[in-house]
Amino acid sequence: MVDEEKEDKKEEESEKKEEKKIYKNKDKILDESFKQAQQLKTGKPKKSVLPITLKKPFIKIGLLIVIIALIGLFIINFVPFLYINYETEDSSIEQYISYQEFKYDQLEPEKIYSLFESTCIDCSENSDSYIGLTINDFIDTPKFTIYVFYIMIIIGAIFTIFMLVNRKRNFSENTIIIVHSIFTAFIIITGIIILILNMKFLAANLLQQLNKPFLMGLGFKRVQLLFFMPYFQILISFILFIIGLILMKLNLNNAVDKYNLVFSEKNNLRYKFGSKI
């Protein structure tokens, strides 16, 4: 008897469970159909999209210019100015000479001086230097390039400050483009100055080849000159020059695009329903 009662109870429980399951399924189906009906009525449910917050673009060219100027200053102070390798009848020398050695007149073999300023009386009446360089050039040009790099740092800093101020004050795009174009003009000018200051060292290599007989006449059997520091300066100036030209093109393109744009009044107005009928 007890077993039969237990079985009955179990059957009842199982029936109840099945009923619950059926109810749950029915509820699910109802919910789904209700949702589908709602969707059909109102359209597809929109996904909750977070509002897009755009930060103002920060133009980092000013910082780039400052970094380039700092690299230039580093090159002047730490990269050797000149690599010289020459052979005379008596000796042969291979040496790296820095800007500091030229500055404080610490050149040891005096024969090096004769490379730049010849003391030969019979050699030439027209010129003392055969490669277009004097000792003063080795002192003055790095000095001037240092000044130019200082100016570059100042210009770059001013431009970055302007861009930082722009983030808070919201200058118009037109004023930003105008300031940008003035900045590019400064970049180009500084680039040209550095280029022309250091170009004579590159020209010296050409003259070294062209005026070789005169150098031999001074007593040199073989001369090899490499101006490391000026080469790097020329590279930097070329980079500046290219940056300037690209910025110039970009600014002009932006200006032309702005010229083409005509803003309609609708963009500035907010419309709401319920206006005058």
Binding site: C123, S181, A185, I192, K200, L210, N211, V256, I277
Partner: protein
């Protein structure tokens, strides 16, 4: 300036800048002259710009002076091209004024002149080299000298600067012409505006002359003409007085309102009649004018001169009438507004009960609209200006059936 011209100028100015910088580099880099030496080494000694500076030879110094001029000219070309680039940017972005156009034009002209000078100095340089026996141009290969490289680039520079200036001059001449035409048109418009409001005496005379050609009355005397002109002028004076009176109303309104409220209401009725009479008078005057134009020379009448005292009386009378009319209208409008406000308040309360407090009714214009606002409203879409019905109770958001723009109802009472 046209956009096509600006685009051309943009291209040209970049090329000019690039070429001028290249020429500057070449001046410092290239060997320019070769001097035959008769010392221990009997060879040609090549000189570049820097080497020429240190030379003690006077002939080389003469050549150096010319080369220095070219060098300075190239520097100025670089700076002016950069300045004109900034001018173009400013012109395209902000100030499309005549001043900036002139500045661009002058800078382009200066650029062209400088390039021409460079070309001229280079010819002089080559001629002076030819004149001196001991000095020759340093050769790359026998027929081709190093100096030719720079010479070719400077010719390119001259051509491009020529194109640049030509384009700008061509466009600026058009612009100047258009500026002149615009100025003339503006002047004409201003004149027309000035003359259209009040007819001048000459116009009145012309209007009088016109019918004379058609009419049979050709032998009228000069005095009659003058009398008629005076009449028309007198009418004009009365119009001016009315205009002045209209301007003075707002100042005196407040004071006269208080007086009018205290004064009897009976007066209003009588003054109403007066206003009606005045309007009738105005119509009569207009009819008279038309008659005058049709029959310009009626019988001779004595000249009517309006004195200052008469004008003041007229203006005072006109002000009184106007103020009373305004008050009467206001008294009529007040009860209407009160009823409107009551209806709007009731509606607001119902909306507050049903929906959130942010949603509000549309603008109500007439009493007929109030009846409609019980359930269905008319709504105009701001996008496509399509007017469609809207059930106030059913929807919170509205979607335009024509363009699909979504929106909410705005509070406007």
């Amino acid at each position: 300036m046209d956009i096509s011209i600006i685009k051309k100028a943009r291209r040209n100015i970049i090329i000019i800048l690039f070429l001028s910088i290249l020429c500057l580099i070449l001046i410092t880099f290239l060997p320019w002259i070769a001097v035959t030496e008769n010392g221990s080494v009997k060879e040609n000694l090549n000189f570049n710009y820097e080497m020429m500076k240190y030379s003690s030879n006077s002939q080389i110094n003469d050549l150096l002076n010319i080369l220095m001029d070219i060098y300075i000219l190239f520097w100025t070309i670089v700076i002016i091209s950069l300045i004109s680039f900034i001018f173009i940017v400013i012109y395209t972005l902000k100030k499309r004024t005549l001043l900036f156009e002139i500045l661009i034009l002058t800078s382009s002209l200066v650029l062209f002149i400088l390039c021409a000078f460079v070309f001229y100095f280079q010819i002089i340089f080559s001629r002076t080299i030819d004149d001196i026996d001991s000095i020759s141009a340093s050769m790359m290969y026998l027929p081709f000298a190093y100096a030719y490289i720079q010479f070719i680039f400077s010719i390119f520079l001259l051509i491009i600067s020529g194109f640049y200036t030509f384009n700008i001059i061509k466009d600026s001449t058009k612009q100047f012409k258009s500026y002149k035409i615009q100025k003339k048109e503006k002047k004409k418009e201003l004149k027309e505006k000035m003359t259209s409001d009040i007819p001048t005496e000459s116009e009145i005379e012309e209007s009088l002359k016109m019918p004379r050609k058609t009419d049979s009355l050709k032998d009228t005397s000069r005095e009659e003409k003058l009398a008629e002109i005076d009449k028309l002028l007198a009418n004009k004076d009365s119009d001016i007085i009315k205009q002045k009176a209209d301007e003075d109303i707002p100042k005196k309104e407040i004071d006269e309102k208080e007086q009018a409220i205290s004064s009897e209401n009976e007066k209003i009725v009588t003054e109403e009649i007066e206003t009606e009479d005045e309007s009738k008078d105005e119509v009569e005057e207009e009819n008279k004018e038309v008659e005058q134009i049709k029959h310009p020379f009626p019988e001779k009448k004595p000249k009517r001169v309006i004195e200052k005292s008469d004008r003041l009386k007229l203006s005072e009378h006109f002000e009184k009438v106007l103020s009373n009319a305004i008050e009467k209208k206001q008294s009529e409008i007040k009860p209407k507004q009160q009823t409107d406000k009551k209806i709007i308040k009731d509606e607001e309360e119902t909306i507050k009960k049903e929906t959130k407090p942010d949603l509000i009714k549309p603008e109500l214009e007439n009493d007929t609209n109030v009846e409609l606002t019980d359930k269905i409203l008319r709504v105009k879409c701001p996008e496509c200006s399509h007017i469609f019905p809207y059930n106030k109770e059913s929807d919170k958001k509205i979607i335009c059936p024509k363009c699909g723009k979504e929106g909410k109802i705005e509070i406007k009472i």
